[in-house]
Symmetry: C2
């Protein structure tokens, strides 16, 4: 079992992921929001790569059963019902709904990896469940850090490092490379105080400036869910039980 970490979705093209087992991490906030929404009863999430496509897809769905959600530059998009704060995706809002979801980085990473054989969503919120499932699959894994506008983000890399660390604790013979060594080192340095790391990260600072400090506290929680969003036929659903 080999693991590789991509520090930006742009370093590989769509076909790179064909037939692979891929994990997308966008801690602040798309991954955390997807995990939360599905755990709060959303029927499915339709990740889209452009705002135009979000509007088009939602137009073909039944009124009342579909919500548009997401953000551009941390802000809710005009005409969308929901932004990208996981705290908005409460049970009373999302239960039973299909959510068409666009974000600057996370959903772009998901749509880029759409040809993967297995495609999962990970954040700190569900990290152990993802690690256990990957070990049970026993396939080579590509971990995509969604990053910010193609650039590196610390929080996604620390999450990737923590995920690999947990995989290795379950399966010590995992083969690692430069990218994994770096992610592990960054988790070792920054992963013991997640709220502090998130607050001091570039993206965390920006969210605090924009009034989203509560999101940071929420997203720093480790393993509050034991479920994994997985991508199949263009939508994300919850894999209720880890095999």
């Amino acid at each position: 079992m080999k693991v590789n970490v991509l520090f930006s979705p742009i370093v590989a093209d769509e076909l790179y992921f064909t037939g692979k087992t891929t994990v997308v991490i966008d801690v602040l906030r798309a991954s955390s929001t997807i995990i939360t929404a599905l755990n709060n009863g959303a029927k499915e999430i339709v990740p889209v790569g452009t705002i135009e496509f979000a509007v088009k897809v939602s137009g073909g769905m039944f009124g009342g059963q579909t919500l548009l959600g997401g953000e551009r530059n941390t802000k809710k998009i005009e005409g969308f019902a929901l932004g990208n704060s996981p705290l908005e995706y409460e049970e009373k809002v999302v239960n039973g709904k299909s959510i068409v979801f666009y974000t600057t980085n996370g959903t772009k990473a998901l749509t880029k990896a759409k040809f993967s054989e297995n495609l999962f969503v990970c954040a700190f919120l569900n990290l152990s469940a993802v690690a256990q499932h990957l070990v049970s699959l026993n396939k080579n894994v590509e971990i995509i850090c969604a990053g910010r506008n193609n650039f590196f983000s610390l929080e996604d890399t620390v999450c990737a490092g923590k995920l690999v660390s947990e995989i290795i604790s379950l399966k010590p013979e995992v083969e690692i490379n430069d990218s994994v060594a770096a992610a592990l080192a960054l988790n070792h340095k920054y992963g013991s105080d997640l709220p502090k790391m998130l607050r001091e990260s570039d993206h965390g600072k920006l969210l605090i400036e924009n009034g989203f400090e509560e999101d940071i506290n929420y997203c720093s929680q480790l393993n509050i869910y034991n479920t994994i969003p997985y991508y199949v036929n263009g939508v994300l659903k919850l894999m209720k039980e880890v095999d």
Copy 2:
């Protein structure tokens, strides 16, 4: 003074670098080879982004005064006089010569950053000289890690971290971001034993397999040159004295 580190040249486009001060790092081996060749008397190095362009450019130059150098997948290119081992670029070979130079990662990074106002080449070999010069310029700095086929490489990142660490030791008020924090942490973890780090890196292992272990020992030397290659009018020359 702000510093930013790009872990792959692909995360930004050519226009991103317009008017900026940029440093390209490709420890194994393009940066180390460029520094060595110019210090051994090469008149200039013409970095090119494609092999076809290398052949075309060299065809228009005076015979005997021009050498084709570089590699594809660590091997010398057919018809080229020189590969990408710094040890080939001895004084008796390169003195007075123009070298048209193509490599898989390093020269692509250089040509991508060609619109920079200032464009320098750094490796462990000349790291302190580059740090001192950047501090004297006192401009925001973009550091490009050439990486490998758009992917992350540990040795370039450790070199970037060591460069920023030295800049900060000279100018503590430098503003850092996620990418710099990561590079600093990786230098802290891996930067104290450079031969070991290079041997254990993905690229180092590949070079050893291909018989280039001596290159690794050579490239791990810190500050054996006090000179900086800089890019102007399409060629790299030596900035003989650090201001």
